[in-house]
Amino acid sequence: MILIGELSLWVALLMAAWSATVSYAGGALRRNDLVSSGVRGLYATFAMILLASVGLWTALLTKDFSLEYVASHISANMPAVYIFTAFWSGQAGSMLFWALILSMYGTIAIATSRSRNRELVPWATGTISAILLFFIATTCFKANPFVRLDFLPVDGRGMNPQLQNPGMAIHPPNLYLGYVATAIPFAFAIAALFSRRLDAEWLGVVRRWTLLSWFFLTIGIILGMWWAYVELGWGGYWAWDPVENSSFLPWLTNTAFLHSIMIQEKRGMLRKWNVVLVVVSFLLAIFGTFITRSGVIESVHSFAQSPVGTWFATFFFLATGITIYLVGTRLQDLEAKVELESMVSREAAFLYNNLVLVGIAFAVLWGTVFPILSEWATGNKITVGPPFFNTVNVPLGLLLLALTGIGPLIAWRRASVSNLKRQFAAPAAFGVVVAAVLFALGMHAVYALVAYALCGFVTGTIVQEFYKGVRARQTIHEESLIPAFVHLVGRNRRRYGGYIVHAGIVMLFAAFAGLAFKTENDVTLKTGETFDVRDPYGHQWRFISQGVSTSNRPDRDVIAVGLEMFRDGKRLGIITSEKRQYLDSQHQTLFQPITQVGIRSTAQLDTYVVLAGVRGNDVAELRVTFNPLVVWVWIGGFVMMIGGLIVMWPQAERRPAQAGYAATIRTPRAEAELPVGV
């Protein structure tokens, strides 16, 4: 099976090359036989990559340590689930995994749109196959998981215990699923440019796949944050590290596209802009892979540095060049047919939303590559850290939050004063009340107050929308509350799913603003000693050290410290933090010791205890951190995921295409009631 897998990989390489060549030729020569052959070639590539993947999984699960990849990523005593996920934990395996997802996506995308988008299929198939060809070639020549050792080790080296965590098992595949999904909209955008079929037909496919990419990137990013928070012990979840940034960039451009596409569907505007966003999302995904894999930028995520970096750089510049050429030669086909009518309109709000999202993406990209740029320009490498990203992104983020409330409610084309009053009076008042109450309670940080006022405002708009919708159904269809709610969401998935995503965003912003009130305390405690401290809410905490204990498990040595916790005199229990040294079956140490963080989570506050070190038998060095509202990051992420699922869920009865310019004949007032989604 392993041998079959290895051979399949090489067959897949030939298949992808064949499919790319004949699909493009078929498109250019308008030869249907060639196009069909290209499509079959893509399907065959998927089958071959699937076989290759089964081969690698077989090698892992049968623990064939003669393969270098197997020997260096698993050990015999690891839990089976992590042996399975070791498929994507190393470079070679993750390249194969990319190819597997891309060929699967490509097959699904082409199979489902073959009859609908006849003109686009040859070019889209060719582009998908060309991207696949690149990934498979990189796997075959530069990062082959089937390379054999010329001796047979008794055991492998195992997986870093920090990676043996459920979050880490599913975080990378989610990011890959998100990254790779940007390739499908890219392929269809390229197809639309090649065939000059730049009307509405390519947008449906592109929107669905962008949504899928957005969905998986959201999950992947949030899981990565969660893993960093519970596993790495530095008390935070986002460090503006280049690797984190590179997953954030395509998320931002995807989000921008999912909004601006609505303007094109309803009003026929932003045609150039949308093509550019689709293309840029894919290029950023490739660029992200390049910077994380090549090591050109310093990061604490040190993936193996290897020559795939040069391949990615070449591919990136090639793809960029081709796209610039294609867009440049087709500008006339992309002229908008309608102009912006008023600054006080949904179009304008969405335009600003796009401007801000792309502005954030640009700032993040700039900060990420600044060490390279400054070295080119001046010869000195200058790095920027979290202060840079926060200074720029906090104001932009708050502007975005305000637009999250304004965009969905303001009328299309031109909002009237009565529209503005009807939609915004109550939410705006609610936002002001929230800020006033917090101020009265003693919160005086300006950014945080603005953030919570806007959170209140956006929450107000969302609640108002649901309330109005449910009330309307209750009166028209005489339904009770719950059925009215379910039908409301079910019949307008894009609109109300979008609101649910926005609710998740509000929770994230509320949690981010809480970071302003985080406090850290470094303490040294002997057995029985106490540490008294106030948390950011003003509660009095007491920690009493229960002493340091050591224990030896079959797979690890553990040093643990327990603290008895009291809040305002009430006992809350014991919080424990550990240092663990993992061992192999011969009691040799594996990796560095790792820290097990003690976390007590409530809706208000996380109490986060890290054992930094131990002196003598009973003196513990500890860091005690109070992290307000962190749990809302995970809840907000979950809510966004639910909202995304609602939006993506296939609509049972298909409405007539929303594209087109029917909007131009509707009055602004009627427009305000039209459905809108993410």
Binding site: N160, V300, M343, L355, S374
Partner: protein, 148 residues
């Protein structure tokens, strides 16, 4: 004024504020990233550079790590092969910090030639990829590495 023009003015305003924030915060918070050799050369050319905050990427000299009796204070030496200097760091060191790892220390060079670090990041080359040394010495691995 046409709405399009108004939008463009508004957009330019947003972007120029963002641009200003970017430029000013790079100026205020950007720090030089150097190797020990570059830092030494810079200090010789410009002695006042001791006051500038820098980041230095280097490798910890094996056996040089000393933990002060007081606990969260570390003294060690870093090198890039040609230049070596001592570093003092106060705070919690990451789990990955140990002999021979690549570290990035942020702080400033003291007049006594000891680097006072306020931040310590440790990179472990084998953190995600774990090809062990004993395999790396084998002919099979080397052949694989040449192919890879």
């Amino acid at each position: 004024m046409k709405p399009r023009t108004k939008f463009l003015i508004g957009g330019a305003l947003v972007l120029s504020v963002a641009g200003y924030l970017m430029a000013s915060s790079i100026k205020d918070t950007g720090v030089y990233y150097m190797t020990p050799t570059e830092l030494t050369a810079k200090l010789q050319a410009d002695p006042s550079f001791v006051n500038a905050g820098v980041k230095v990427g280097a490798r910890v000299v094996p056996g040089s790590v000393q933990r002060a009796a007081g606990g969260k204070e570390y003294a060690f030496r870093v090198t890039d092969g040609s230049h070596t200097f001592p570093v003092v760091y106060r705070g919690i060191a990451p789990d990955t910090f140990t002999d021979s790892v690549d570290v990035v220390v942020s702080g400033r060079m003291g007049t006594d030639g000891t680097f006072q670090a306020t931040e310590l990041l440790a990179k472990c080359a084998s953190r995600y990829e774990n090809a062990p040394q004993k395999y790396k010495e084998t002919p099979g691995y080397k052949a694989g590495a040449r192919r890879a």
